[in-house]
Amino acid sequence: MNYKLGTWAVAGLMAASPVMADLVFPSLSYRTGPYAAGGIPFADGYADYFTLLNERDGGIGGVMTRVVECETGYNTEKGVECYESTKGEGALVYQPLSTGITYQLIPKATADDIPIHSMGYGRTSAANGDVFSHVFNYPANYWNGASAAVNHILDVNGGDISGKKIALVYHNSAYGKEPIRTLEKLSEKHGFELVLLAVDHPGQEQKSQWLQIRRERPDNVIMYGWGVMNQVAIQEAANIRFPMENFIGIWWSGAEIDVKPAGDKANGYKALSMSAVGDDFPLYDDLKQYVVDAGKAAGAGDQLGTVPYNRGLYAAMLAAEAVKVAQEMHGEADITSGMMRDGMENLVITEGIMAANGVPGFGPEFSVSCQNHGGDGLVAVTQWDAAAGEFVQIADFAPTDMEIIQPLIDEDSAAYKAENNIASNCN
């Protein structure tokens, strides 16, 4: 009887309480499973940024933010379950954090009028906003990455790589195969020979691939790896004494956890980046004051300044900026997911905005439009300094070869549009 009375009392209290408006950001995190080491810092960075906005600024536009975390274990089915279980909370935008989950969510989120931000992963041709109305992959995609790697090799070789041999070591999955077509086009344009080397999941054993690299002696190796594949590849490259300065990974192969197991031998390894490295930004002072020292940091609070943590911060900052645009566009502080989509589609990131957020030079300047959901595709290059134990940015955010990439985006998205009978988003 007492239990029943208590239940009614709680229910009555809840019904009588005013509804507290908040801006909901689901975080489909993976703090467990084979990729947890990369998933934890991203999730921490994403959550910490919104905590900072709440603690320091009282939210965004006077409305508090709320991060709803759901564990996917980097598993596509669990990711979809997380989407279904969190979308009813008033979700504004999803970061699926997995190419597999992104592919599953594209039709669902479009139907539910909730935008997806697949930052540097997912379906590359989603950059065509005319076809993918609710998917955004700014500031750069896999094909920008392939072009940026080739551009960097061009820079190092004085602009001429004809006759050179470049090997792509890739995760044998839809993700790993993404850059192949772009690299084939670039090899035709620049006259280099492309060698393709697939590595089976999870990538714990790569002896065959690295023996082949030792035999074929490519001038450069580009890697599209993930998880344990990264650590083993860098170790094997060191074992065969492949020059690390000629080894460059995509941003998913460029975190501290990827290079540390190889120790000093990983020194000089390069990785592409779409956000800055390190913690030398004014934002970090605020993070320490309002989040870490206040005991409100996500997780163990020990990931600040790492590459994936910064990427999580950056994703959160872009989401928060899109909210501000949406609030201004619609004159409404407590926005809906549809308004958020509008905000993302009209997002402009300038150096002034980044500096105002305490992160000058943290990412490239870019703008989004109805047709272009991928931004300007600017990519930076970082290099591992083993002695200092940190990645250092060695090349600024630079343009990629859109002459090659844009036709590929148009072709792929047109095929998707025809297959799914999609109406144009930008009339």
């Binding site: 080491a37 002896k207 065959s208 998880g227 540390k260």
Partner: protein
């Protein structure tokens, strides 16, 4: 000598070395299956748990630090000591023996005489439990295991073979060490089984549980013994694989590499695990070199290993060295 032949020799030798590493994982499965009829799904996770524990002990990590800090608001992470690798290995063996006792005491003691599928499912539960406890105890970050194992190309072999073939063969120092350790481990296990009282009791239990019980062999003790041995083998495998990639969750997936080895070598034979490992290692590497990479786009190694195992299942279901399956009606 044609360059292609030198390449083939290199691939063959590296296949042998890879096979030894697969066999190290398979050995743990064989020990438990032979003595108790349990297919231990948790063997891969045991390798991960053992390697994490070794790292934690070596570096003076406080077990369950994150949990303790979250509950009590403390900030403790390390005891402040660093132990030599050998001492840490001995202490880790102690932890694996304790784990073996707990597995027997709290799980399998209650499942004696149950169907094999029930025992198998219990090991699935054990695997998930160990995954979670391992992360809680030691954290889920990637740990660099520094136990003094040399890695990288063996310069001597490189120089000598360059003189012979005009192409220096690549053999990884770590693979050479792993091969020596695996040979020593198998020799020790065989000697233990043949020449010690406990070893003979273990073989008796493996042959017939009830007959062994009737002559006074303690089933509990023998099961703790084999789980301890499997824990030790898991530690060795965890060290060798962990030295390559760092100690991380993916270590638990090395069990996938052991399955085709077991199908080929037989689930009940220690020499079978070794020979099976070598055949799989050499076979998959040569297939990738001759056919996979030139004609099929590469990444055929896992596919080849399981296809070969499948062929053996069709023509010799008990594997090369497994006990013949005789069903009487």
């Amino acid at each position: 000598m044609p360059e292609q032949l030198a390449f083939t020799i290199e691939v063959f030798l590296n296949g042998l070395m890879a096979g030894v590493l697969y066999a190290l994982v398979a050995l743990g499965f064989v020990l438990i299956y032979k003595a108790s009829g349990i297919f231990n799904f948790a063997q891969g996770v045991m390798a991960l748990f053992a390697a994490m524990t070794l790292y934690g002990i070596m570096n003076g990590q406080v077990p369950f630090a994150h949990l303790i800090n979250a509950i009590f608001g403390t900030e403790i992470h390390y005891f402040g000591w660093e132990l030599p690798a050998l001492l840490a290995i001995v202490m880790t063996v102690g932890v694996m023996i304790l784990l073996a006792w707990m597995v027997q005491r709290f799980i399998f003691r209650y499942l004696v005489g149950q169907e094999p599928i029930i025992l198998f499912m219990a090991t699935i539960g054990l695997a998930y439990f160990l995954e979670g406890v391992g992360d809680l105890m030691w954290g889920s970050d990637i740990k660099t295991l520094e136990v003094g194992l040399p890695q990288g190309i063996n310069e001597t072999i490189d120089e000598v073979t360059f003189g012979w073939f005009g192409y220096g063969l690549f053999i990884d120092n770590l693979d050479i060490i792993a091969s020596i350790v695996a040979i020593a481990l198998v020799a020790a296990l065989v000697a233990f089984a043949q020449y010690t009282k406990q070893g003979r009791a273990m073989r008796a239990v493996a042959d017939d549980h009830q007959a062994a019980l009737s002559v006074g062999v303690s089933l509990n003790f023998i099961w703790i013994l084999v789980w301890s041995l499997a824990g030790f083998v898991a530690l060795v495998a965890g060290i060798m694989w962990g030295a390559k990639s760092g100690v991380q969750f993916s270590l638990s997936l090395i069990a996938l590499k052991a399955l085709p080895v077991l199908m080929l070598g037989g689930f009940t034979s220690i020499p079978g695990a070794i020979v099976g490992g070598l055949i799989i290692g050499v076979g998959e590497k040569l297939f990738e070199f001759w056919i996979g990479q030139p004609f099929l786009g590469g990444a055929t190694e896992n596919w080849f290993a399981y296809m070969l195992a499948l062929l053996f299942l069709v023509f010799r279901p008990q594997g090369l060295f497994g006990e013949r399956i005789i069903e009487r009606v």
